[in-house]
Symmetry: C2
Subunit: 224 residues, 2 copies
DNA sequence: CATTACAGTGAACATATGTGCACTAACAAG
DNA sequence: CTTGTTAGTGCACATATGTTCACTGTAATG
């Protein structure tokens, strides 16, 4: 097997072998293949228990080729974080377009959450798993991104009636609670088992109730 | 070095070598040494990235001796879950002794939470890390135990004023929310960095506020 | 005291891993 | 057309890992 096998990955991926592709286009594609391979393996393993060779084998390339794209496994990890966070941000952007009233916001937010999670299970699974489980650069990267995300949510919350006069600290507290609760919901959704559509409805209902419970607390709030 | 080194672990552990110890007592001790070694390593690694040889080296025994206590690493994992859950249950038992009013319950519960977590950081770190991060038997064991724990909490909640007439499902929903939120708090506490006592106070304050926000929601609740 | 059970050792092996190196075919640039 | 870049290959090697096996000293048993 000679270097013609260079095309092995990309062709397997695109399905058609001979459309002309630029050089960096090709590089991008195998890079993507590595990411996808990793995500595929991460469905039942944790990132820490993932070897370079495994990933490259799954991606259809030779181990040493890995270094053309990443310095080490940790680099792959943070690349995955970026990619997964892009999915998260896309979801948020859509959820943010929804309007004023609490009840509508909850309903539609949970709906878009459910939709996006199901559409990008691998990304969300990676995020929720490695948020706590991961160590080193990966967890750090996720923690940073989620902190940033919670800050934005806190600002969003401040625009709602009844939250306008809350302190930044209290808003942040509430945002953190929401983020943690919803990530718990995400974890239940992407848990490997039960592709049961009935269970999905129950989980979504639970998510709505939890959000509603939190929001109801706002009415009685006075910062201690 | 011959088999007299059999005493290496136990002596290093107890500090005094020649108090008479029964045979199974000795076995129990090295088993404990293995658990402790694992927990020590798990401070900065995830369980998945932990090798049998590493653990035994840290424990001060030879790799093959591991099999006298566990069939495989997974067994070690579930043993760790059991041990960690014992710490959790001990904490709960203490928290449960506290009385009626919401406000007092929150205050004292967060206090005992903080105390116990600081006293058994390794256990709680392991639980929160591997709850999501872990895969296979370990995560399954934690999930089962936490489900059970949430059920008990739901029952406890039902005894409070204003919650007496809630459906079992709603109580469970609220219990899950509390468990998830508090495990998030625990994670912040055992996060490896900042042994800052000032940060501890802020985290505790945040925990109280989150619980208060949830509890306040009860007043306005009507099951959808 | 004689015998058995067994928690621990140490050597050995097959396998998996990360990484360095020389090489090559194809694209890019002149 | 020639020349240089480079994403990929294939080989090689040192190291780490899980697990087997025969063993040994000591506590437990009779």
């Amino acid at each position: 097997m000679d270097a013609r096998t260079l095309t092995a990955v990309t062709t397997r991926q695109t399905g058609q072998s001979d459309e002309p592709v630029s050089r960096q286009e090709r590089k991008q594609r195998t890079r993507q293949a590595i990411l996808d391979a990793a995500l595929r393996l991460l469905r039942d393993r944790a990132f820490a228990g993932l070897s370079l060779r495994e990933v490259t084998k799954e991606a259809g390339i030779v181990p040493t080729a890995f270094y053309r794209h990443f310095d080490a496994m940790d680099d792959l990890g943070i690349a995955l974080v970026e990619r997964a966070m892009r999915s998260l941000r896309t979801m948020i952007r859509e959820a943010r377009q929804n309007p004023a009233t609490y009840d509508d916001a909850i309903r539609s937010s949970v709906h878009t959450l459910h939709t996006h999670v199901r559409a990008n299970e691998a990304h969300f699974r990676f995020l929720t798993r490695e948020r706590y489980g991961g160590t080193g650069p990966v967890q750090a990267a996720i923690a940073t991104e989620l902190r940033l995300f919670a800050s934005e949510l806190a600002i969003d919350l401040g625009r709602f009636d009844g939250l306008a006069k809350w302190s930044a600290e209290d808003l942040r507290m509430m945002a953190d609670l929401i983020v943690t609760a919803m990530l718990g919901i995400v974890m239940e959704l992407v848990d490997v088992r039960s592709p049961d559509p009935e269970a999905d409805k129950e989980i979504a209902a639970k998510a709505r109730k939890q959000l509603r419970l939190i929001v109801l607390g706002v009415a009685g709030w006075r910062s201690a």
